[in-house]
Amino acid sequence: GCGARAGDDTAGAGSSAAASCVDTSGDTIKLGFLNSLTGGMAISEKTVSNVLHMAADEINAGGGLLGKKIEYVQEDGATDWPTFAEKTEKLLTQDCVAAIFGGWTSSSRKAVKPVVEKLNGLFFYPVQYEGLESSPNIYYTGATTNQQIIPAMDFLASKGVKTLFLAGSDYVFPRTANAIIKLYAAKLGIKIVGEEYVPLDKDDWTSQVAKIAAAKPDFIFNTINGSSNVGFIKAYYDAGLTPAKTPIISVSIAEEEAPAMGHEVTGNYASWNYFQSLKTATNPKFIQSWKAYPKSSGVTSDPMEAAYISLYLYKALVEAAGSFDVNAVNAAAKKNTITFDAPEGKVTLDGENHHISKPGHIGRINADNQFDIVWASDKFIEPDPYLEGYDWFPADIRKQLTDAAG
């Protein structure tokens, strides 16, 4: 027999989704963690997975979620986007977890999105990304563009930067981020003098850096991800480029990544919301707990902190909702009262777009591979994934995107 056809459209949101199989009767509640523990992205995602474990342990030690201990199911996304989709479905339909935490690359998130939407599950995504997305089934605890990219551009403008070179990995986040950067740069009067992409899994940047050297930009905007950054920084240094004359601002080099680049990276900038060097009330405890954690990597970083937030945010959500039910959680979010006293400061959840408010920071890498904070936004920046508050972003694109998203 055949099922529904395109015409008889009952395929509204979640109509065919099987009733949730989450078991809330016992004294534990299952959560799913979905990170790449193998393959190329394991380089970054292992730490995120570990910090999720730490957060779960902490919450359990404090009594759990609605009095139930967290029982987590760790899944390996294996740096393979279809696997992310498969595991999401498995976690939701076989393990019956109440929510899933994880993902790193935007590609992995885009693979998870249709599945959580189809099955009406919950996914908490902890990494800065390119924005222009929202989903009733995803909570974004990393920065959207107006919380990381735009502050970085503002910072550059304030430094009187006139020419900018864009260097990125060849995938959705850098491509989209750079599209936005170009729009904003036009508005700011910054000239883009070049744009280069190299595949994620390729390290050698010498040819591209030669082009950068020839273009002599005031600043380099770096959206490279992962190990490729090491090659980029080394080629940059070898070509005789220096932070004094041609500084780099990165959005994916953090305390975790910097050590692998050696001294060559020192003196360059990064835009993040969280730095280990931040002086907030809760940061010391976070750093201390992490350093003491058995699977610790020794330093804290923005994506880790965002992952840490995500679990606590969920805790706040279920407590506000008094239930693990997805619709109840979303309803609780809608009240816009969910906050968490995060290491980066007190963040507030936007119940409409499921992002959180964040402070903007620019740090400069010092010899200890820590960041000296050189700029901070004057207040927490409200999330604006579709850049509705920015007139330079073309309304028709926004409309097309929101239309396409349904």
Binding site: G1, C2, G3, A4, R5, A6, G7, D9, A11, S16, A18, L37, T38, Q74, E75, D76, A78, T79, D80, W81, P82, T83, A85, E86, K87, E89, K90, T93, Q94, S106, S107, K110, A111, K113, P114, V115, K118, L132, D170, Y171, V172, R175, T176, A179, Y197, P199, L200, P394, D396, I397, Q400, L401, D403, A404, A405
Partner: protein, 364 residues
């Protein structure tokens, strides 16, 4: 080669009953869907068995043909989902540009189906013709085919607006008019995949028992010698290669509605090698070996990869080593080993001057 071909036919029958009747009854939706995915790999594996096991061509780049089917299907489903708008991901990079010209024909269901069948035939035909006529073989062929898969994967990754890049194509709502979210329709897609796997098995069953099957083995073992019997070995290999490409394409095409996403990683070096892993595990030259091996590897990835991700990589690595080292003819050679009914096979050839001489003449 099988002594009693009808036993194999019976085997296919049993397999068909298991896949088409038993599995839908006993498996949950999730596992049925996973089994569907393994069937797609199995279809490609059956083709690899033909080309590699019987034909001696170590096709390390079947991802290329998998991609042709998969992306043909994915483009069609993307357009079906987008309706008359341009696909959402394209808006991100350049909202004003039109739909790339090569997308346009994939709106048509008929064109798409034809492309899934004809594209691999044409591409494999041209490629195989160029390589086999020039007598590119052995390790050269293996590495070249792998390089091709890598090149295609990188190409797709680097053309985000045209192909979706590294993120791939996903979020399909409809499958030729059927709503993909509907469990009944998903089961239908599964049945199509399982059914096509059976069809492919039947096709190679006939190939193996035919004279062509023997000629293929002859070509594998002594390609140059075949020339002196009046055959052009390039043509013999070409047939096997094209058929295997077609199967990979069909596997790829069904992968898309079942898994709901296709990305360059599914066609690149690692994915192409994983397809080989299943074939090696099951038994490259046997009828059922490749299909069962592919299903086993897929299952291992889903289940062991879940419970023991670090371990799974080791298991997979060891699988390659142990199977190739101790069971070059795969698990399907085990029964024969134990029952002792094994045919006399020339295990240890007295090396005549010609046998080991040139690397390019080397097989398996």
């Amino acid at each position: 080669m099988t002594k009693k071909p009808w036993i194999s036919l019976g085997g296919i029958g049993v397999f068909a009953v298991l896949l088409l009747a038993v599995a839908p009854l006993v498996l949950t939706d999730h596992w049925l869907n996973n089994l569907g995915k393994y069937c797609c790999w199995a279809i490609a594996a059956v083709g690899i068995g033909l080309a590699w096991g019987r034909g001696g061509m170590l096709v390390m780049g079947q991802g290329v043909f998998f991609a042709l089917g998969a992306y043909s299907m994915a483009m069609h489903l993307t357009l079906e989902t987008a309706g008359d708008r341009i696909p959402a991901f394209m808006v991100l990079y350049d909202p004003l540009a039109p739909l790339p010209a090569f997308w346009e024909p994939f709106r048509g269901a008929g064109f798409t189906l034809a492309a899934i069948v004809l594209l691999p035939v044409v591409v494999a035909g041209a490629l195989g013709y160029a390589l086999f006529k020039r007598r590119v073989k052995g390790a050269y062929f293996a590495i070249l085919s792998q390089a091709l898969a890598v090149a295609l994967a990188v190409l797709i990754s680097s053309t985000i607006r045209e192909t979706g890049g590294d993120t791939g194509l996903s979020d399909f709502k409809y499958f030729f008019g059927f709503v993909l979210n509907d469990p009944a329709n998903r089961q239908m897609v599964y049945l199509i995949a399982a059914g096509l796997l059976i069809v492919c098995l039947l096709a190679v069953w006939q190939f193996y028992r035919s004279r062509f099957g023997e000629l293929l083995i002859a070509t594998r073992d002594a390609e140059e010698r075949v020339r002196f019997l009046g055959y052009d070995p390039a043509n013999v290999k070409l047939v096997a290669f094209v058929v295997s490409a077609l199967m990979a394409s069909i596997g790829g095409a069904l992968f898309v509605p079942i898994v709901g996403i296709i990305t360059p990683a599914e066609i690149g070096a690692a994915a192409s090698i994983l397809m080989i892993a299943g074939v090696a595990l099951g038994g490259r030259a046997s009828l059922f070996g490749p299909a069962l091996g592919a299903i086993a590897v897929g299952w291992g990835q889903s289940s062991l990869g879940s419970t023991w991700p670090d371990g799974w990589t080791y298991v997979l690595g060891l699988l390659f080593i142990v199977v190739i080292l101790f069971l070059p003819n795969g698990l399907s050679s085990l029964p024969a080993r134990f029952t002792g009914r094994a045919r006399r096979t020339p295990v240890e050839q007295p090396t005549p001057a010609i046998a080991a001489a040139e690397l390019e003449g080397v097989r398996s």
